[in-house]
């Protein structure tokens, strides 16, 4: 009961903060009174009600969503496998170190421009999301693996547990919080970098293209509306993915 009350109190506080932010935005838009410079939340809300009825809306959303999600899952899978290998074999960690350090420090824009030379613009966001998310997943999960209690590993050795049991009973529970935190951080990064790649590559029929043309035609209301749509997609995907992870881990722990 106390937990529910605390949660609803926290939800209420957040809701008040959002309303205050919207009021500030509306006040600033009214003061400025130039839609080209700053569209108001009311304008965005009104545009939001009509934008989804346009014929290309769902195609654009699906184009961007599918590529960002694909890039994210490729990075998640690769990051987990590489982290396990690096956790198991020190030399793998050493061999991977320069790649991960380089990927982490190269600006996203440089990646996008280099990738554009090699790839078509429609593949661009998959590769960029993959490259941005991979080191986050890899580093977090490797940290989780390195933090495994040596005594639990000794126990597994004494009881001669198979690799499958070690994976289920030791490795997965240990990396669980690290997967949650890494995916929470990297989903936001995936959307930021994926859309940035689309704005530079301008693949036909993407959200990035819509944002680009909104800028070209000084259609600030559309620019803001698409941005709100990206935020909704990013948060929505993060919540669904988090629920999916919880469901998977509950299933594993019930075994």
């Amino acid at each position: 009961m106390i937990f529910i009350m605390r949660r609803s109190k926290s939800f209420l506080q957040k809701a008040i903060a959002v309303v205050l932010a919207l009021l500030t935005w509306q006040a600033a838009a009214l003061l400025l009174n130039q839609k080209v410079l700053l569209a108001s939340p009311v304008d965005v809300a009104l545009r939001f009600c009509t934008i989804w009825t346009e014929s290309e809306f769902f195609n654009s959303v699906w184009f961007t969503f599918s590529r960002i999600v694909l890039g994210f899952f490729m990075a998640l899978l690769t990051g987990i496998v590489l982290a396990f290998l690096a956790g198991r074999f020190k030399y793998v960690e050493i061999i991977l170190w320069p790649y991960m350090a380089t990927i982490k420090s190269i600006p996203v824009a440089s990646f996008i421009i280099i990738a554009l030379i090699w790839l078509t613009s429609s593949q661009l966001s998959i590769v960029i999301v993959f490259l941005i998310v991979l080191p986050v997943i890899y580093t977090n999960i490797l940290n989780g693996i390195k933090n495994i209690d040596g005594k639990i590993l000794e126990t597994a050795t004494i009881f001669r547990l198979s690799w499958k049991k070690r994976l289920l009973y030791i490795w997965l529970p240990q990396i669980k919080p690290f997967i949650f935190s890494a995916s929470s951080i990297s989903i936001g990064l995936a959307w930021k970098s994926g859309v940035a790649a689309e704005i530079i590559g301008i693949p036909s029929g993407s959200i990035g293209e819509e944002l680009y043309y909104s800028k070209v035609y000084l259609n600030t209301t559309d620019l803001f509306t698409w941005t709100v749509i990206i935020i909704i997609l990013s948060i929505g995907f993060e919540k669904i993915f988090s629920l999916l992870l919880k469901f998977i881990f509950k299933g594993i722990e019930r075994l």
């Binding site: 005594k151 639990i152 000794e154 126990t155 004494i158 009881f159 001669r160 547990l161 049991k165 009973y169 030791i170 529970p173 722990e253 075994l255």
Partner: protein, 190 residues
């Protein structure tokens, strides 16, 4: 199963000498109780036997491949149920019902499906004991296995463990002489 023969082992941790030319025979198919004050090297000795620590000198003969243990800490898989933990290393032929019966016999009836993290310290201890007893072993190591159990529970658990391990090579570490006597064990004082 042969006797385990510890020959002239020495072990130092920095300046501190834990063993110097230490010799011991652990008879096969019997319970050997190792007693001694804190810091006397009891846990170091079993870590050497389990292969987690190498002695500086000396050798040990007759260590079997199949070892089971109750460690000083529970070392359980906290997110998993008592049943999962107890059966994780169960020997071939042990069925789910056998694990449930074992848990019930040591006073955990009704708690089989609870995650270990939800159990009390004494209950966790008993899950660790069940796991060790149900596993496939030729040598059982019990490192202060009854810590955290109240007197009444302790007596019933000791009774159950003694019956289960009778005739099997066991190294039992304790501070408590009464526990050693209840096991009718050969006592080695460190």
């Amino acid at each position: 199963m042969k006797d385990i023969i510890i020959k002239n082992i020495s072990k130092n941790f920095g300046e501190k000498t834990v063993f110097k030319n230490f010799n011991l025979i652990i008879p096969a198919d019997a319970i050997t109780c190792i007693m001694g004050p804190s810091g006397s090297g009891k846990t170091t000795l079993i870590n050497i036997i389990m292969g987690f620590i190498q002695p500086d000198e000396g050798s040990i003969e007759g260590i079997p491949d199949k070892i089971s243990a109750v460690f000083q800490e529970d070392r359980l898989f906290e997110n998993y149920s008592a049943l999962s933990n107890a059966s994780v290393a169960a020997r071939d032929g042990i069925k789910k019902e056998d694990v449930i019966k074992c848990l019930s016999d040591i006073g955990l009836k009704g708690n089989e499906k609870k995650a270990v993290k939800e159990l009390s310290g004494g209950m966790k201890r008993r899950v660790a004991i069940a796991r060790a007893i149900l596993s496939d072993y030729d040598l059982l190591i019990l490192d202060e296995p009854f810590g955290g159990l109240d007197e009444e529970t302790k007596l019933s658990v000791i009774k159950y463990v003694e019956k289960s391990i009778r005739g099997k090579t066991t190294i039992f570490i304790t501070h408590n002489k009464t526990e050693a006597e209840l096991f009718n064990a050969k006592i080695v004082q460190l």
